[in-house]
Symmetry: C2
Subunit: 214 residues, 2 copies
């Protein structure tokens, strides 16, 4: 979805990071399919061991279960990977500086997300200042977050309008074949499609999950 | 040296990152020896592949030679690893958040360093803001840079006063046995010891290098 927006105005290079998340293999497949769809030649696939070594999240630590959905819950969910987006943005910035890219597109979503501190606008603004201060004077890289203030419903509608290949995307935190339909990420996705009045084109373990969200 | 300062007031956990630098094996040996010296139990050794994949620095890219010293040169040296300290600080922050550490000590040096943008006070201040915004509300982590405004001469003198095990430390960018004495990092180190009126306890390829700096 962010790729669809970036591709309107920029030549795109795509970064995929495996950070020990349980669905890394499935996410890589989605990444390559989306990169193929947009004909992106410049791709960087890299692997971080330390987020798994450090643990502290249900996404990277096998001792912590992925929680089932409670979209009304307050606070930081167990899927929060400590400071993850700083790692992703650091890799993107180093790469951008070397290949001469001017923008980093990140699909973070603030309001309709799961309450991750590193998805907030204030975090992105602070990181843009770090990039200004921590790179060469001639480097002009900025982070763009075109989805950050949108609801999932608006994202689905915008993706559909842009003909983004939503069937190739993956959101589930725990399955790699059919989506579970019950983790936070599946729930937010299904609710977004339901509110947009569109059918989610990916497969779920049980079709009943599709009807749970309105 | 930074460990000597941190150990005065804090229980220390030590992080070592292999990011594809040519002297990674030697730096790991120094890390373990210093950790042993201070009796540090909590150690994290991790490996980043992407800085080597991304390249762009003489420290990580075999196609770029480590330059011989020119301490009067202006601009960013070829040893600059794009945005490296943001990666190191991101790992340290994630780890600090999980183990409940309150401070990250970083041995960056601004004035007497090689002109790396990610060693400046303004970069560290900006990163502290990123940590505030990108971690859990209850997380209270801040970066401390006790050496940042010191010259190498002052660092050597302070290390000597604190009985820091300088013989266990490693600075050379290209050798892993005896230090080369001619890369930027050796030159800054040797000049620091010379100005402090102290002998550098590590071995150099050629003892004549010791007398080159005053």
């Amino acid at each position: 979805m962010t790729t669809a927006i970036a591709a309107q105005d920029y030549e795109v290079a795509l970064l995929h990071v495996q950070y020990g998340q349980k669905t890394a293999v499935r996410e890589l497949r989605a990444f390559q399919a989306i990169a193929d769809h947009y004909g992106v030649g410049e791709r960087l696939v890299t692997n971080l061991n330390h987020l798994r070594q450090i643990g502290g999240s249900s996404l990277t630590d096998d001792r912590i279960a992925v929680s089932e959905v409670d979209l009304t819950a307050e606070g930081i969910p167990s899927s929060y990977v400590p400071f993850r987006n700083a790692h992703l943005l650091s890799i993107a910035t180093s790469w951008a500086e070397v290949i001469g890219a001017s923008r980093i597109f990140l699909g973070a979503v603030e309001e309709d997300s799961s309450g991750y501190p590193d998805c907030r606008i204030s975090f992105i603004e602070a990181f843009n200042r770090v990039i200004e201060q921590g790179t060469k004077p001639e480097t002009e890289v900025r982070i763009e977050t075109p989805l950050i203030s949108l609801s999932k419903q608006e994202i689905v509608m915008r993706g559909s309008a842009l003909k983004a290949p939503l069937a190739l995307s993956w959101s589930c935190y725990q399955n790699v074949d059919k989506a579970c339909g019950v983790c936070d990420s599946c729930a937010l996705r299904l609710r977004g499609f339901a509110r947009a009045g569109l059918a989610d084109p990916i497969a779920y373990e049980d079709d009943a999950f599709r009807r749970r969200y309105t």
